[in-house]
């Protein structure tokens, strides 16, 4: 039976190896810095727990996340899948957080949905809203993912008369893998691994004619 390697670098560096839906090993580095330093060791660490495991599936969190760290996990997932000749899939990282919250939480419904937010820096947050789990165990996303100023999000929720339950859990690669399993069951698992930046790069188009003489 083949194994699944799950990777997410939307916040810290988190990597997990699962077999038959069971967690074989996980490595979680909380710091949202140093992804490039950590990623190789984290993958090697979980693989070492099951030297005979043949990875046939790689799942990666696509974010959203602010830039640099996110790319490292996606680049690593792409290349690992390539080297291991494994299937590569991508999931929305916020959906994995939602899964962690929704499993075993019956209070969440369309009327009282789950709000997942993560730090987008620059005084903004990424957010998505969920009304519950579908019969296959996949979180039902009713809004997002998007980037927004907290005050604007607040107003929007008031306007729509929504009092959400706020997610508090942090992302893990195990959740990424479980989400992919659920998505495989309902047929929504995607091979798209493009990064969800949800922002344009900061850059100003060429400024000409800046005066240099007095």
């Amino acid at each position: 039976m083949g194994a699944t390697l799950a990777i997410d670098t939307s916040a810290g560096t988190t990597v997990a190896l699962l077999r038959n839906g069971q967690v074989v090993a996980e490595a979680n580095y909380g710091s949202n810095m140093g992804h490039a330093e950590t990623i190789g060791t984290a993958i090697a660490e979980v693989l070492a727990a099951a030297p005979d495991a043949q990875v046939i599936s790689v799942v990666v969190g696509r974010g959203p996340a602010p830039f640099t760290g996110l790319r490292i996990g996606i680049a690593a997932a792409m290349m690992f899948a390539e080297g291991a000749k494994a299937q590569l899939s991508g999931v929305v990282s916020l959906d994995a957080i939602a899964l962690l919250e929704l499993e075993g939480n019956s209070k969440i419904s369309a009327a009282s949905p789950l709000l997942v937010t993560t730090d987008a820096r620059r005084k903004e947050v990424y957010y998505a809203i969920y009304s519950g789990l579908n019969p296959h165990g996949v979180p039902i996303r009713v809004d997002g993912p998007a980037v927004i100023k907290p005050a604007v999000l607040e107003e929007m929720l008031i306007d729509k008369n929504i009092t959400p339950i706020h997610a508090t859990k942090t992302i893990t690669a195990v959740a990424i893998a479980k989400l992919a399993e659920a998505q495989l069951r309902d047929g929504s698992l995607s091979h798209d691994v493009t990064a969800l930046y949800l922002r344009q790069p900061d850059a100003v188009e060429g400024q000409f004619g800046k005066k240099v003489s007095g």
């Binding site: 140093g34 992804h35 490039a36 330093e37 990623i39 190789g40 060791t41 993958i43 090697a44 693989l47 990875v55 830039f67 640099t68 790319r71 490292i72 996990g73 996606i74 680049a75 690593a76 997932a77 792409m78 290349m79 690992f80 899948a81 390539e82 080297g83 291991a84 493009t194 990064a195 930046y197 790069p201 900061d202 850059a203 100003v204 188009e205 060429g206 400024q207 000409f208 005066k211 240099v212 003489s213």
Partner: protein, 503 residues
Amino acid sequence: MSKPWAIRIADENDLDAIMQIEHECFANDAWSADSMYEELTGAEKYYIVSYRDEHLVGYAGLNKLPTVHQSEVQTIAVRPAARGTGLGRDLMEHLLAEAVRSDCREVFLEVRADNEVAQKLYLSLGFEQIDVRKRYYQPDDVDAIVMRAQLPAAAKAEPLVLGIESSCDETGVGIVRGTTLLANVISSSMDLHARFGGVVPEVAARAHLEALLPTLHEALATAKVSLEEIDAVAVANGPGLAGALMVGVGAAKALAVSLNKPIYAVNHLVGHVGVDILERGELETPTIALLVSGGHTSLLLVRNLLDDVELLGETIDDAAGEAFDKVARVLGLKYPGGPEIDKAAADGDANAIRFPRGLMLPKDMEKHRYDFSFSGLKTAVARHVEVLNTKGEEVPIADVAASFREAVVDVLVSKAVNACLDHKVPRLLLGGGVIANRRLREVAQQRCEENGIELRIPALSLCTDNGAMIAAIGAQLIAAGRKQSSLHFGADSTLPVTKVQTI
């Protein structure tokens, strides 16, 4: 110092001399001449003999089991009179080298438990005891100690290395076998940066992620190799744009882990120097190297590619390529500025305007003999254009472009030639994307000829940022027996050129 003996591959004509030593060294358990003949002529056997003054003084043999990537030391014998000279070690090293060449990962041997001298030698060559065979040697009734040496695949003399480069705006994947270039695929995000007039780090990093797999696939197809054949992965971990470098670093680490192959973190700038190996088979040293690109302007003294690279000087403000881009904007020309200015300068007079040469005045030369500065030059061009505009006069673009280009080229070549003459190094190697500039090549050629300096300009595809140069350095590190990098290294945007490999 040359050794007093010569080692060559044995053939059946050596049989009689070998048998003489065989009886001398293994009184009670010598092989028969027939068995030895079988050994010498066997298909997967590798026997070597050592002669001194036309007398056989030693021999050794290896039995290769290529299908399982293993080999066994069959025998080794040194005539008593020739012992203690290092001949035994030399013979063993030849056998191990052959094992490596034959892609063996393990070498086994048996040694008499009472032969401590031999055991010591094998331990020092990387063998370790793995088993004991009781009373193996008969009739002497002596145990055999079974030893094994694990050969890293990386110890291959001609390793197949995949190099990844992502320090600026080119995603490069190169594949080399030893010093032979197999593939050099570059995906540039230059067009994406054009509307910004320069490289935007975030745009470059995003483009790397998208280009990674297509570039890898094309490189593998070009080299006609599969990932399983790769012996090692090399990656540029600096200097360069941090966010861009990290994409390559993360990718390379995951690839190395998935293939269970070693990784080598390589200095990008040293890559530019080492690339000459792919065209010439080796890098002639010492050499001065002038690296000029959009991100770097560095003058290096390379005494030894892997051990002794000295930074003589670098730009204290803009890189030369950046100056071309900025001046192109002043003149209303497109990005990237280098080729545009080259084109505009074609009909211009290089001596029309005497633009300043940065850090070339005697007082500057004292402190910054090998440093560069292009910021003042760029401002001088901008001011010149503004003054003409204010007066309502037409800007002679061809003359301005030609005069600007001449100033840049003059400084670059003067300082590089100075470095050659000062250090009595009659070689100059050029690298970096700005080397594409025709005038720079012309002036460098001319001044090098005048000063008796040999000029090396690698093919342009190897001058710009590329993965092949990173792979080439990786292969050199492996051939030199350097240990692999750990998985802990990060991207270092200001990695000093003295750090060829990050462990």
